[in-house]
């Protein structure tokens, strides 16, 4: 074949610059919503750096005239952060990975191992997501108390698992079902057991969804208040949100310290979010099948 080269003047191939009005509207909406969400955090952050006198005298969204670091020191001491931070860390770092592992294994079994009662089991799990936990608070307290687990890590982690797992199982089994069945069949023919298929094939390709669930679950667990309030009675076992509560009662006049405490509470959740958000990339499964 002969190559035909056509030369074109450069100005001919410049595409017309027209933006879709719908896109512009979406962008504006996005920016407005972002501002609404960011506003409280700006307010909290600025206030945490102001002395009490400045809080009273300046506008809420005005940046601090001079940075008042002692707020953080005072908040740490008065809110007993040393203890509540450790409690929250232990509970979240045990519960979140453990919950995800249990959910993922259950979801794999539901999605990939043929059982007689599969559909009924999925419905049963789904039912677990439908009970509002407020309804369960009183029976839950009775149960945990009966087991002698009030004021223990196990006592709070078990109910957290019970309420977190069904939702995650539901999401993950949907995701696992969408994984082409040939992939697990190929692995089974290659000599892998279900455990190996789960560990070597399913876990790696579901990293994005696992990361998303991990972030959601971590933030939820870190901020959980009502169940912790009921089960953790001893202030030595309190988590960060409980610590904040006591704070508000005792030092309600010191807005600088209160907001410093809030910043310190939110910070770890934000760090976890920033670490795992990069796994949100989609397309990890592309290339497995025809494309």
């Amino acid at each position: 074949m002969t190559a035909v080269t056509t030369t074109r003047p450069a100005d001919e191939i410049v595409p017309a610059k027209r933006r879709d009005p719908l896109l512009i509207a979406l962008w504006i909406t996005l920016v407005v919503i972002a501002l609404i969400w960011i506003a409280p955090f700006v307010f909290i952050f600025f206030t945490s750096l102001k002395s009490n006198a400045e809080v009273m005298s300046s506008s809420a969204f005005a940046p601090p005239a001079s940075v008042h670091w002692p707020n953080f020191e005072g908040a740490w001491r008065n809110g007993d952060f040393g203890r509540t931070l450790i409690n929250s860390t232990i509970i979240s770092f045990v519960k979140v990975p453990l919950g995800l592992l249990i959910s993922a294994m259950a979801a794999y079994a539901l999605a990939r191992i043929r059982l007689r009662w599969n559909k009924a089991l999925v419905l049963f799990v789904l039912f677990g997501t439908m009970i509002p936990f407020q309804v369960m608070l009183a029976p839950l307290f009775t149960l945990v108390n009966g087991l002698g687990l009030i004021d223990t890590y196990v006592g709070i982690i078990l109910p957290y698992l019970a309420f977190g797992v069904p939702y995650q199982v539901f999401i993950l089994q949907g995701f696992f079902r969408a994984v082409p069945k040939e992939l697990s069949e190929a692995a089974l023919i290659d000599g892998a057991s279900h455990i190996t298929v789960f560990r070597r094939i399913f876990l790696p390709i579901s990293l994005p969804v696992l990361a998303a669930l991990l972030i959601l679950d971590f933030v939820n667990t870190w901020n959980e208040f009502a169940m912790a309030l009921v089960i953790l009675q001893d202030s030595a076992m309190w988590t960060l949100p409980l610590g904040l509560m006591s704070f508000q009662g005792q030092f309600s006049s010191d807005y600088g310290q209160l907001n410093a405490a809030i910043v310190m509470t939110v910070l770890p959740a934000m760090i976890v979010y920033l670490i795992f958000q990069r796994y949100f990339v989609s397309g990890l499964t592309s290339g497995a099948l025809k494309g």
């Binding site: 069949e185 692995a187 089974l188 023919i189 000599g191 290339g287 497995a288 025809k290």
Partner: protein, 370 residues
């Protein structure tokens, strides 16, 4: 390498039977192709051999072992899937080596075997890539490599070429055939593409609705289809069928419902209504013995021209060499008087032998052997 024996195998999902008792024996080193339309049970049968579907009844043996209750990994088989099913997060080398790793081989052994296989399939430069970075044909090769590397007793292919474009399909067809010659292994291959079946198979098994319609070598099936389904399924363009009544008289002829008379080259062993089957390549333009036909459309393919013309109320296809002058609505005389014409019973669709046709067939197969 091993034989595969399938004895009265059945499959039902609840009360729906999809395979109604299939029996066949596949010899050691044989390349058998299961072919049939969608939903005929060919993939299900393959998956039962693989152990991915339970066997509702009957017995499957690989080598001298009955494998009915063995899990897939213990059957000594390898399977190539239509959509390749490569592990997306692993490199080509890891994909190829996965089964060896599962078998507990040491790292250096795995590397040697993977490199050997990659060499056979020309995958050596791609070993460190991930599936997403490969083209369709390369992925197909990796999928085949994953099967080869294990050196299994039986290879199972489930429509491996249907996701490739036409050129690549022709190329891979030749490669699979060459690979079979080289490895000498037993292959069971599923396809709905009759050309793949004709060109690659040692033996074709035509399935329909869960039963075997016919099995034999590609040319046996082509030359002597047992029924209209097999006749229609193999060969491209499809065989022409003309339904009519046998004329009484000296010269064998078929009278179509509209009154057109078609001259026959042999006399079928039947009376009354029959169906005549002639391949488009054997229909000729013959002013002496031809029946007038009105051209519907002509399709030049370059070397040949396909003419679709109407005889009575039936459209027939005729493949003639070279070009034709005539166009739509022109009348041409088409002759179906060839010794290799097939006759079928219009009720049962089964083959009716023609007097003398057995001799003719013997002579033809003699020629084929030479």
């Amino acid at each position: 390498m091993a034989t595969v024996e399938i004895a009265d195998v059945r499959k039902s999902y609840g009360s729906v039977d999809v395979i109604h008792g299939i029996s066949m024996a596949i010899e050691d080193g044989e390349f058998v192709i299961l072919v049939g339309p969608s939903g005929c049970g060919k993939s299900t049968l393959l998956r039962m051999i693989a152990g991915l579907e339970e066997i509702s009844g009957g017995r499957i043996s690989i080598g001298d072992r009955v494998v009915n209750n063995l899990p897939p990994k213990d059957r000594d088989i390898a399977m190539v899937f239509q959509n390749y099913a490569l592990y997306p997060q692993m490199t080509v080398a890891q994909n190829l080596g996965f089964s060896l790793e599962m078998a507990g081989l040491k790292k250096p052994q795995i590397r040697t075997k993977v490199e050997e296989t990659a060499e056979i399939l020309g995958l050596t430069p791609l070993l460190s890539r991930k599936p997403a970075q490969l083209s369709g044909g390369q992925r197909q090769r990796v999928a085949m490599g994953r099967a080869i590397v294990r050196d299994p007793a039986v290879f199972l292919f489930d429509e491996p070429l249907s996701n490739l474009d036409a050129n690549l399909r022709v190329q891979m067809r030749a490669e699979i055939k060459a690979l079979h010659r080289r490895l000498g292994s037993t292959i069971v291959y599923v396809t709905h593409d009759q050309i793949e079946a004709m060109t690659m198979a040692d033996r074709i098994v035509v399935l329909r609705a869960g039963i075997i319609e016919q099995m034999g070598t590609p040319l046996e099936l082509y030359d002597r289809p047992e029924n209209m389904f097999v006749a229609r399924f193999l060969g491209s363009p499809s065989m022409n069928f003309l339904k009519g009544t046998l004329a009484e008289g000296e010269e064998p002829a078929l009278v179509l419902p509209g009154g057109d008379r078609i001259v026959l080259a042999s006399r079928p062993e039947a009376r009354g209504e029959i169906v005549l089957g002639v391949r488009p390549q054997e229909v000729t333009i013959d002013p002496v013995r031809g029946t007038p036909a009105r051209i519907v459309v002509t399709e030049p393919t370059g070397a040949d021209t396909h003419i679709v013309a109407r005889v009575g109320d039936t459209d027939v296809t005729c493949v003639v060499q070279g070009r034709v002058e005539e166009g739509p609505d022109d009348i041409i005389p088409l002759s179906f008087a060839v010794p290799s014409a097939h006759y079928f019973d219009p009720e049962t669709e089964q083959r009716i032998d023609a007097a003398g046709s057995v001799l003719e067939l013997a002579a033809r197969s003699q020629r084929a052997v030479q």
